[in-house]
């Protein structure tokens, strides 16, 4: 069946069209979907696009930033109000990929991609869907929520975003793993830490055991050592061309320890 491309002026209309046609895919930056188009992937027959300018808008808010779903990594790097996300956007692909890859697309990017999604999860970002629903980006990453993302609201972390990408090729190389962590404190003790690993399973995932090891403790050598020891708990990493599952499990704690010991 030949491919059809449908273009809608608003993201709401695109969302309705997407919901009505199970064999359609939303076309964002194209870095992932265009590969399937080039390969004549038979699992879809319709590409849905939207020219809605809201999709590429970056809006500053009192306590964070609102990103249109089609905001690219390059747009984030060029915008002052999104500067706290720049260290993450900078390590996604090379310049050509960053000019096309979108923030919402990264939520659905298969392993080993998803470094930006991991950061959004650690920051507690929420997605507003084209039908007005709001949901944590975690649910979209897990696949437990469906629909077309319109905007992503990202709180600006008062205690900073810690982020580290482990890759074998510099400066551009896919992740062996990446870690995003927000470690808020209250009265000198950790309260509500969010640590997310990408590359340690099918999609980015919270390191709940490591978070528990830090909760209520001062962020210091003892708690960091306990968090590092628990870093791989609850993960089922896989073997691939980049690293074995064993290797990933073995080094996850080392990288988490370095990230937590370093400057935020």
């Amino acid at each position: 069946m030949p491919l059809t491309v449908e273009t809608y002026p608003s993201v709401a209309e695109a969302g309705r069209a997407l919901a009505a046609a199970p064999t359609s895919r939303f076309f964002g930056g194209g870095t992932i979907l265009m590969r399937a188009v080039n390969d004549a992937d038979p699992s879809f027959d319709t590409l849905i696009r939207s020219t809605d300018p809201a999709l590429t808008a970056i809006r500053s808010q009192a306590d964070g930033v609102s990103l249109g779903a089609g905001v690219t990594m390059a747009m984030i790097l060029a915008h002052r109000d999104a500067a706290f996300l720049a260290p993450v956007a900078r390590v996604v692909g090379g310049p050509q990929v960053r000019a096309a890859a979108t923030v919402a697309g990264n939520l659905f990017a298969a392993r080993p991609y998803g470094d930006f999604a991991a950061a959004l999860m650690a920051l507690g970002a929420t997605a507003e869907m084209s039908d007005g629903r709001r949901q944590p980006v975690d649910d979209l990453v897990r696949g437990s929520a469906k629909g077309l993302v319109a905007t992503i609201t990202v709180p600006r972390p008062r205690d900073g975003l810690r982020f580290h990408k482990v890759s074998r090729v510099k400066p551009k190389g896919v992740s062996v793993m990446s870690i995003a962590a927000v470690v808020p404190g209250a009265g000198g003790r950790v309260a509500g830490a969010r640590i997310v690993f990408n590359g340690m399973g099918p999609q980015p995932q919270r390191a709940l055991a490591a978070e528990r090891a830090l909760e209520g403790e001062p962020l210091g050598p003892q708690s960091i050592m306990r968090a590092a020891a628990a870093a791989a708990d609850g993960f089922t990493p896989q073997d691939d061309a980049l690293a074995t599952a064993w290797y990933r499990s073995a080094v996850a704690g080392v990288h988490l320890r370095r990230l937590l010991e370093g400057p935020r």
């Binding site: 188009v37 080039n38 096309a100 400066p171």
Partner: protein, 160 residues
Amino acid sequence: MARTPIEFTHNGEEKAVFVDAGQNLLDVLRRGVGDLTPKYGCGQGTCGACTVMVDGAPRLSCLTLAQEVAGRSVDTVAGLASRPHQALQDSFMTHFAAQCGYCTPGMLMAAETLLRANPRPTREEVVEAISGNLCRCTGYEAIIKAILSAAQSGGLLRTG
């Protein structure tokens, strides 16, 4: 199959072509416009041989939906000689920065994008700028030197 008419600026000239649904920009440039300078390498966005500029930004033409460039400006190596950073081509020759030559058009486009935004890049910035382009002859050092040399010479005029 439904074909869609699109108009865009190609190396400063207005072009009007029909594109198939799902056709990528690389295919349209090579088969529709007849510009063979962007190369088909991996077709997966990994090698950078198909790099072109769309409104001044580096894009992988193999992963760009042709319909997306309607009304926009697409620059390729075919037009580089008539643009301000033409010295890049001479610098690539002077520094023997092309071995088999397959990656060269993509490297030149990545370099032109860099020099447009940053006329005096550091070595690290050059390395970053070509990080999305693979050279399987592994001639990276010559390519880096060529770009730095073009930048130092102003990158504006032919040297030969």
